[in-house]
Symmetry: C2
Subunit: 426 residues, 2 copies
């Protein structure tokens, strides 16, 4: 859209203060870039919906409309149709979470859940705790409610509990409105919170009396290793966000929230104010899809495909990427996190990468404060394995070129030092 | 949902201050009441989607998925697909509004437009101007952003410009963040802003430098009389909200906003934070519906049906309702507004009405401050003509019973006064 060319206009001083903190979405620009045929997109988080059998969705839509047309086309209840919530009950039971129909509200993707949780909990200046880096859509949703975001670093086993404990001690009891975490195949880091830390996290949250929001879009996309129980399975006070975007299709915009009843009542008020109710048409289509199709087979096929792409990306990283690069090896989900030496600014390099035909997301998009510019998120979910390999090869060239420059400078610096002609520092 | 039984719980003091002002939705409770078979609902605003030919929607959904499945099931652009925005361009051109593709963002019903406009414009304590009474969903959406709502009374020709002028004079230039109006077949009042007042409204808004938000869900549902140009047709700075809920079906949750480009850029940021993007599946279905079907014939059929129901309700009101009642006679849309003597509290009478098998919305739902309890909104959109007549007959009985009581008291008072045994006042 050709907007925002107008630097000064009659609107510029009319907006609410909260909008000053809402950043333009890297996500959206990346969706746009991904549609250019010459560019290999390693930036987006788009599922490989080509594996969803379209005729089964046609059948689901047709029976939804023919059998329940008056419901599909009408306003629905704000909490979502009982049948689709029943699908959620079954899905959750399979991963160890006991939830009843009235513990669940259907949302417009998990993103709406994030927005509405921000809306009901965050007053301006409230502290919230997230992983660092964290999902940029969550930062975007929360930022409209003007929180102070505290990021807890991760290692290969997820959020570091020693650092969380330190931070909670500093903040004190109820010192944060909530802890937001993506325990499985974290976006963007790709790491998973190990089981012992899940217990620790919940104990700390109880000790400091701080609610936990568990965002779990990728939980069912595990390639290997054992299933870790969701936090919500261990503690019924946990607020859980799920989505149909990764097990069916994002085009339906269907997700869900599971929460303690008082929270859900508040959430529902916010949902009504936001859109009255979700789409009964989309909900009925999903109901029929889960009732009538072999959706588990489709999901297995998706997992197999993502796993192959993860392997292709890891192999290519090992083959092409400079020795200075470090990356995570996710056991599921969509993303790999790459860290480069701190002097490399991957945001400034992005334009060059796009010119060479590959995109990624610079790491600072996943922090609230400009950190992470020497990092990047690589998505292996959307591009085909051969394209992933080629994309990584192109990206490696860009990085190597830049590193060459630094190495040359470093060598020059070393030579200068050896010759005794170092600059004085001011 | 069996929530909110817990009066004191560990969550009650954790919510953001903004949620204190968000009231429970009368709309939602009414949707629930409307599903009881023994009760005639004159309360809801549900369109008569039984008139939408289901096989044409099946065909639209099928071709959307077969021809464009990879798009229908994937994330889409935040502003909405070009094709559905192109449908909006054509629809708007037919009512005299010139808008280009990039003047438009597709929303999850017009309700999302209201929420996001509140989000981008309203700081706590900001004044906004609405009609009084006004759409309760707008009050609910805006209330989360903690505005001071100033209501301007209406007469049979819409918002009273003399009273608006007075209020603007009191508030001064830029004294309100925006003026929110439903110029056509207003919800709940049923009245239409006459053309000369449209000019006046825009002149006043320009004079006091206050943006105008035009909400126009019912504009195309005109039963008689001439078409009045939308405010947006007269002034391109007007922010316009439209919806597919009344010309196709609310179950798709599709609406749109037309706004000046800087506003639209801000709106889009809020939209991304709220749900990333709308449903491509719903958008494609609507695109095919408008491209492939005789949707104008369906719309004509809807208008004819609503017109008959409006007639049935007006006739029944004339036949059954007490002489003390006054009502508006809408030339389109869904609603009639009834005013009773000020001593009648229609909120307290509602339970009795439901017991006798009819529902309405008490007038205070449409004010931010408890006014309007002697008024009610009656919807003629959903019930069949015979049910409307029977519903009005039942409701008239409830009102007559209550009025009898008052008349008896009044007579007793008159007798007492005549006998010189009036009570002393404390």
């Amino acid at each position: 859209m050709g907007t925002a060319r107008v630097v000064f206009d009659r609107w510029s001083d009319r907006y609410a203060k909260r909008m000053a903190d809402v950043r333009s979405s890297a996500v959206r620009d990346l969706f746009a870039a991904a549609t250019r045929p010459d560019v290999i997109s390693l930036s987006g988080g788009m599922p490989d919906i080509a594996r969803v059998p379209i005729e089964e969705v046609v059948a689901a839509a047709t029976s939804a409309l023919r059998d329940s047309g008056l419901e599909a086309l009408q306003y629905g209840s704000s909490e979502g149709r009982p049948n689709i919530r029943s699908v959620v009950v079954d899905l959750m039971a399979e991963v160890g979470v006991r939830a009843k129909l009235d513990d669940i509200v259907i949302t417009a993707g998990a993103q709406q859940g994030l927005d509405l949780l921000g809306k009901i909990f965050i007053d301006p200046g409230d502290t919230i705790i997230t992983e660092g880096p964290t999902y940029l859509g969550a930062l975007q949703a929360f930022s409209a409610y003007q929180p102070n975001v505290v990021c807890i670093p991760m290692d290969d086993d997820g959020m570091r509990m020693d650092l969380l404990a330190e931070e909670l001690k500093r903040l004190g009891p109820r010192g944060a409105k909530f802890i937001y975490t993506i325990p499985n195949f974290q976006n963007p880091a790709g790491v998973t919170l190990k089981p012992s830390r899940r217990r620790e996290l919940l104990d700390l949250a109880r000790e400091y009396d701080i609610p936990v929001i568990e965002d779990d879009p990728y939980g069912r996309l595990r390639f290997e290793g054992g299933h870790a129980l969701p936090l919500r399975a261990l503690d019924e006070e946990v607020i859980y966000l799920g989505t149909f975007s990764k097990i069916l299709a994002p085009g339906l915009r269907l997700g869900w929230v599971i929460a303690p009843k008082p929270v859900l009542a508040k959430f529902l008020l916010a949902k009504q104010a936001a859109d009255l109710c979700g789409s009964a048409y989309a909900q009925l289509t999903a109901e029929r899809y889960f009732a009538d199709t072999r959706w588990r087979k489709v999901l297995q096929d998706l997992i197999r495909g993502y796993s192959e792409r993860r392997d292709a990306m890891i192999e290519a990283l090992e083959e092409y990427f400079p020795v200075e690069a470090h990356w995570t090896v996710p056991a599921g989900g969509f993303f790999i996190w790459v860290e480069m030496p701190s002097f490399l600014d991957l945001k400034s390099i992005l334009a060059e990468a796009v010119e060479r035909g590959v995109t990624y997301v610079p790491g600072d998009a996943f922090y609230p404060d400009g950190r992470g510019r020497n990092c990047m998120r690589l998505g292996f979910c959307f591009a085909k394995p051969d394209d992933i390999r080629e994309g990584i090869r192109r990206l490696a060239e860009v990085l190597e070129d830049r590193l060459e420059l630094y190495r040359a400078f470093a060598d020059a610096g070393a030579l200068s030092a050896a010759a005794g002609i170092t600059e004085e520092r001011g």
